[in-house]
Symmetry: D4
Subunit: 167 residues, 8 copies
């Protein structure tokens, strides 16, 4: 992409979530989508979270990715303060992330959050979903997405070649 | 109590939660604890919710009771904005309130919410827990609580008398 | 919006899902976003589903909303055949929609689905999320979204006025 | 068996599932049932998956075993494209395979999948179930199945001999 | 089919399960597959259940369908006594059939049960799965299955025609 | 039985549990086992509950059946105060009785509770289990139990006769 | 006890369950209750299991303890073949033993199983519950049970002494 | 605080729970709130538990924190014997603490327990909630709570500084 200002904001509730949320960043890097990454907590820094979400659009952000675990309110709280699409990544927890998933997915009518899978797979898919959303406006991403989709199928075929056998 | 200003704030995410949250109000009335009751949504009216929580203490509120269902963020979001004890009531949902319970109980370290049971029983217990908390400062409530506790045991005995039989 | 061709496709696994999925349609209507609505099953009409997803982009569709229940594969299968953002609505089931939610949310890495809440609330939020996604490209929707957001807060205040009382 | 062409197809969503799915292969080997094993993903290689399922019968396959985890659509998607019996093996996941189990078992009416247990035990039982199904047409398998059944009881007796004691 | 002796046995733990298990019978009737239907309980009539399963094959039965709820042992217990494929239908229960599903699906290695969905959809799919299994030996069923599959897709198209609209 | 003093105590947490707990009483009546039935709450009348459990053995009670719902502590609390076998019946709750089941079954080592199924079936089985336990000392119950077991199998056969058909 | 013949039978579905089921044996040893321990599977050795349960009473067994995991049918199947009290121990599984617990606890009316906790704690409590049941007939066990109960309280006090502190 | 007598009692069901419950103690130390810590079991030392709860208020205790796992009755049983606010900490268990959470949170109406999160986070929040409750009467704690709240937000900002980057 030619745009150099971050289009996607990756926010996590705690710095300890970084290794998982990096998966989202990696996807965005691969698609050359500029992003910013930061920490903000719905509960421990509510003002910072509200401000961040309210100002994101003005600063050029077009999609927010928010990862949190347990009573995972971050994505929902950010969605309350912005009209940008917010993608919620449920992080693992002592309850395997089931609490995180329900806290993110079960938003009541009026304020949607786009929920993805628990943990690593979800973080990666959050990055991809952000690219898909951006590709509406930034048409140049469509080609990369098509290439990526083709590469997925190709990798499956490569795996198949290694695994395939007949008894 | 002699105090006439509301000491407890009962907040719910939607007016449709009123029939359940009235259970909390009824308990407070029985203990003659002044309260106020209102609607505020963590997601649909985030600013109102933050303001309400931030100003509650100054207005004389000593305990907040917050009821919500689904991805029930209301109690946690209010707790983020106040140092008052916040009691969270998980309301019923298409998932039987399990999502509400986890969204309220599983708060990460730093911002506690005092979670009670799902639905009616929880709303009533929220009222009682508020009275117990207030009784630390407002000692006159202790006697009422002791009376109430005795009445519970007495009602069990009355029930027992009706039910008891030997074959 | 000035565009008259459908921008959003609402697809459901069975005609019996229509009453719920109408919630998504209603939201799109309110935002004057043109949509089309149809039935296609991942399992009973797989070819139709694949074709529909593959051709959607060419026909001008920019977002797909897919609702299904139980082993709810529809959203994931459509996502497999398109680079458009796909929003999955988990519909209620004998297991309260928990199976639907997990079947939609727990997509493995590479093919994201934007999952919303189970049932009615989810269908409505699917419509809203579609509008938020579209608003990236179709900037005129931003104002409507801001108005909508303001109206949500206003309705809460109106509800509060009716409910509010001090004991 | 005298037939040399694969009668059973073992398909998995990712090469990383091989160690578990080998359990199914091992059972088939023990019963001398020829099989083929490959990788195909419902989401990352949907065309390959559809083609594979559609052509399986023509190529002589009589039973398909499909293993996948998380939002495990592979078995259901293959069943959509074939009239052969499809056995679904729910693989372990961050949610312990509960999501995999529900995604496979809760198929709506019209397109059945024969679901077995989560993980290792399920993969082994998938192999056995395939043999049981094949034994309808290939009667020579019946004797082997009866022998196998007898050997199960015998192994229990051997275990019992080692464990048995009276205090 | 020309065969007139029952090929499929439909067994249920209690006569009260009949309305659900009739769904399986209806499918078999549609495919002109002869079946028998009876009641036997793993726990209340264990000997009858064991005898029934042991003799089924000799009497010409080729597939057993067993429906039960709660601690649903019927399918597993029958599978213990036969080498025929056993299809287990988890019936609804106070726990929504989740206990039934786990009691049937989570069989340990050595004795498989082909589990289908909870309740009505599962009973219908049990009938279909039985037909698919029988079609290996009774090739004339293949054509009916292909017709049925085509009819499923056609019905989706008919539903679509009624539902389809563009805003 | 010749003994006329109650041998079994049926205790429930609330008079509203009576209709379910009557199922246990009915079984005991059928076996002519004398019982007493009363109400006592682990939380609302803890002293009464402790006294009752402590004195039960002295009064001739040999088995206690305790039914409660939600955070169902009654059976565990009674077991803490007696060495008599305590049977716990998990009653239905807004969470379908899953909370009741776990609160009763998951007792830590040292103080067992014999847990039965949720609701009606559990209450009835609690009565039967009490009879089985009593039959160790009161050998005359063994014959009744054998008759009952035979009657179960017979009723299954009668049901079968009504249901049985061949297509 | 003076009786030397086994009074309790400890049965497990697989020899690999021995380390857990030894907890039950250890308790019985401590109470000097003679027991026997063996392996029998509801599914892999159904005849052995039925015979064992049917003959247990004649051989002098007064209580059966059955441990199994997953679709844990062992306790229910044994209960089907005997009028002795059967205690079911749900063993851990890939689903944390939740499937085992439900498969054992949710027995339908007519054939009770006395379910204890999942895993170690449950095995130990199964031993204790067996002693409590036996103590009805074998009164000399009552004193040991009272001593054991006192020792539990004493151990808590000893633990308390080590842990207790005031800040 | 100037008060030197314990204001908070931290009670746990077993000495093995100490490492987790120390988190609560640590928080109280940080706020200079005097506490006492001990072991008492609802089931193994019921009298000790009842006495402790009944006398707590007289000895000057103002809040009780009770931690237990599995069928976690400790908090509920203590609440039955006191009018002090009781905070329940669900400890981890073979079922991930879900049983502990439900056993504590789902208290029926009349006897509330203030439930916090499972495990470590819950223990820490129990300490904080105790301080919030105490701060009603002991106003000097309010300032510390405000400082603590500010420090939480500050730590988030520090974390953010380390993590923040733009691609």
């Amino acid at each position: 992409m030619k745009i150099k200002k971050p289009l996607v904001a990756i926010v996590m509730g705690s710095a300890s979530d970084l290794p998982i949320m990096e998966e989202a960043a990696r996807v965005l890097s691969n698609f050359k989508v500029p992003y910013e990454i930061t920490v903000s907590s719905a509960h421990r820094s509510p003002q910072r979270t509200a401000d961040y979400a309210q100002n994101a659009s003005t600063r050029g952000i077009e999609v927010i990715i928010a990862g949190a675990g347990g009573a995972a309110h971050l994505a929902g709280v950010m969605a309350a303060h912005t009209i940008l699409p917010v993608i919620g990544v449920p992080l693992e927890s002592p309850l395997m992330g089931l609490d995180s998933l329900l806290s993110i997915a079960q938003m009541s009518a009026g304020v949607p959050v786009a929920t993805v899978a628990i943990g690593n797979a979800g973080a990666r898919n959050a990055g991809l979903l952000a690219v898909q959303i951006l590709s509406g406006k930034h048409g140049e991403l469509k080609k990369s997405l098509l290439n990526y989709k083709a590469s997925l199928a190709k990798k499956v075929e490569e795996q198949a070649k290694k695994v395939e056998r007949k008894s």
